[in-house]
Amino acid sequence: MFHRLWLLLCLIPVVLLPQGSAPAVQVIGAVQHPLQLTADDLATMPRATVKTTSNGMETIYEGVWMYEVLKRAGVPQGTALRGKALASYVLAEAQDGYEVVFSLAELDPSFIDNEVLLADTANGKPLFGEQGRFRLVAGRDKPGARSVRMLAKLEVVQLRK
């Protein structure tokens, strides 16, 4: 009897802890709805592609526009993106701690025709290795420095409240 109880107690944490949980991007901070987006979640959202050329090699990235991600998180957009909200920004963080910033306005198609994609595939295959499972592709940036690889987190920061 005691042996069975001990076995049950040992199994509890195994059952409660997430087992092999799918990689995800956190969307947190000044958002109405914090998100934990997996590739399955992104697959249900409006999909988009960006073609890049790096060192003569073309890659077609597919994923979800950042403004769609922010819309789902309840971040001010369009006519709601005025006044103090215009001082807010997205801090994109990679798994290794690398960070870059995008203002909310430069991710909003009502302000500017930008192309910032939260990508999960390249040339039709899931991202892997040094790219991470997710990455950003800032298609209109000249250098690739803000196209964060190994993306882990998108934190919306509100400077003026």
Partner: protein, 371 residues
């Protein structure tokens, strides 16, 4: 066997000559095919020296021909050995007369994509022009042909192999020229293209088991901005800056040359300063491709780092020596011994074993005098 009459003999000779010319023209016209994996760009080719199979084959023979040196002791291949990814295994190269070059031999793999040639010449981007440096240069003497160009051309003209190869490569009248020699050698060098390493198969061909777990960890360290950040100088599919068909030329060598704090940078090894004369350029050398890097020891422009372990240790401390021009990219890295092993395992995954034996780039000569 009946004797052939003089007109009959003439007719046979004419037919044979016509066939030879036709074969030569067919070979010369044979379009060059780049055998590149899907997605890789074609390298740039100068308009006045288009690629052809015949020209590359001629270039291969010249590349391995030791008669192209002052004393018959060296060819291009002496400092660019196929089995060492076209380097020579020495800290500093040695010319035909025994004179030591101030810098080490660079690999010729994917040299067609290099925006600038040699370790530290920001304005040299033509393989045709570069070929003249080892042939004719006398400080240091490499092949030592300066003043002996005509003698070598005479040797070439008399050789039955070249009597076949030159007309095929250059069907025009004036075939046996120094310019055509450099064109053929450049075409051969341009043909040495490699994208077949285990890492290429892993990264571009979807073979997820082509490299070890350690190499996969090393890849992440290599490309991590916050960890090793090696990619900042050795980025892209060639692990070095590239030019390709249709690309713009590099502007002022920007992003190609770095001072890594590896030496005191005494003359004549002061990097691109030797060409620009700008003090801010002292110590800046080209960041070469890392493809096949496990085979190209010793490392750096002066061969001063003997092993990949020493190279990683050098960068882990942010460059051993202080220098006013040391690249701001370099900083002390937080790397464990395990991290270093992973990085080296990743670098080893960049070796293209097939390249080392590929007959397209091997020695075509059977005669030991020429090899």
């Amino acid at each position: 066997m009946p004797k052939q009459s003089a007109p009959g003999l003439m007719s046979t000779v004419c037919r044979a000559a016509c066939v030879a010319v036709a074969v030569a023209l067919a070979l010369s016209a044979a379009e060059w095919e780049w055998t590149l994996p899907p997605g890789f760009p074609r390298p740039p080719v100068p308009a006045d020296n288009p690629m052809s199979k015949a020209k590359v084959e001629l270039g291969r023979h010249l590349f391995y021909d030791r008669r192209m040196s002052i004393n018959g002791k060296q060819s291009c291949a002496s400092c660019h050995r196929q089995e060492l990814a076209f380097t020579d295994g020495r800290a500093r190269a040695e010319g035909a007369t025994g004179q030591t070059h101030p810098r080490s031999s660079m690999s010729l793999v994917n040299v067609a994509y290099a925006p600038a040639l040699t370790w530290a010449n920001p304005v040299l981007d033509s393989l045709e022009e570069q070929a003249l440096v080892p042939m004719l240069g006398d400080n240091p003497v490499e092949l030592g042909l300066n003043g002996r160009e005509q003698a070598f051309l005479d040797v070439v003209k008399r050789d039955p192999v070249y009597q076949r190869l030159f007309p095929a490569a250059f069907p025009d009248e004036n075939r046996f020229t120094l310019q055509n020699i450099t064109r053929a050698v450049a075409a051969f060098e341009r043909s040495i293209v490699s994208m077949r390493s285990p890492y290429d198969r892993y990264r571009w061909a979807g073979e997820l088991r082509a490299i070890s777990d350690a190499a996969k960890r090393g890849e992440i360290l290599f490309f991590s901005s916050e960890r090793a950040a090696c990619f900042r100088c050795h980025g892209g599919w060639n692990f070095s800056a590239v030019r390709f068909e249709g690309s713009r030329p590099a502007v002022d060598g920007d992003g190609l040359f770095f001072n890594t704090g590896v030496s005191e940078y005494e003359p004549p090894n002061r990097g691109i300063y030797e060409h620009t004369g700008r003090t801010e350029d002292i110590g800046k050398f080209r960041a070469p491709t890392l493809r096949n890097i496990a085979l190209t020891a010793p490392y750096m422009h002066d061969g001063s780092l003997r092993t990949l372990e020493e190279v990683i240790d050098h960068y882990a401390v942010g460059g051993k020596m202080d220098h006013a021009n040391k690249s701001k990219i370099l900083r002390k890295l937080q790397l464990t011994e395990s991290d270093k092993e992973d990085l080296i395992e990743f670098l080893r995954s960049l070796t293209d074993e097939d390249l080392l034996r590929d007959p397209r780039w091997s020695d075509p000569w059977q005669d030991p005098k020429r090899r």
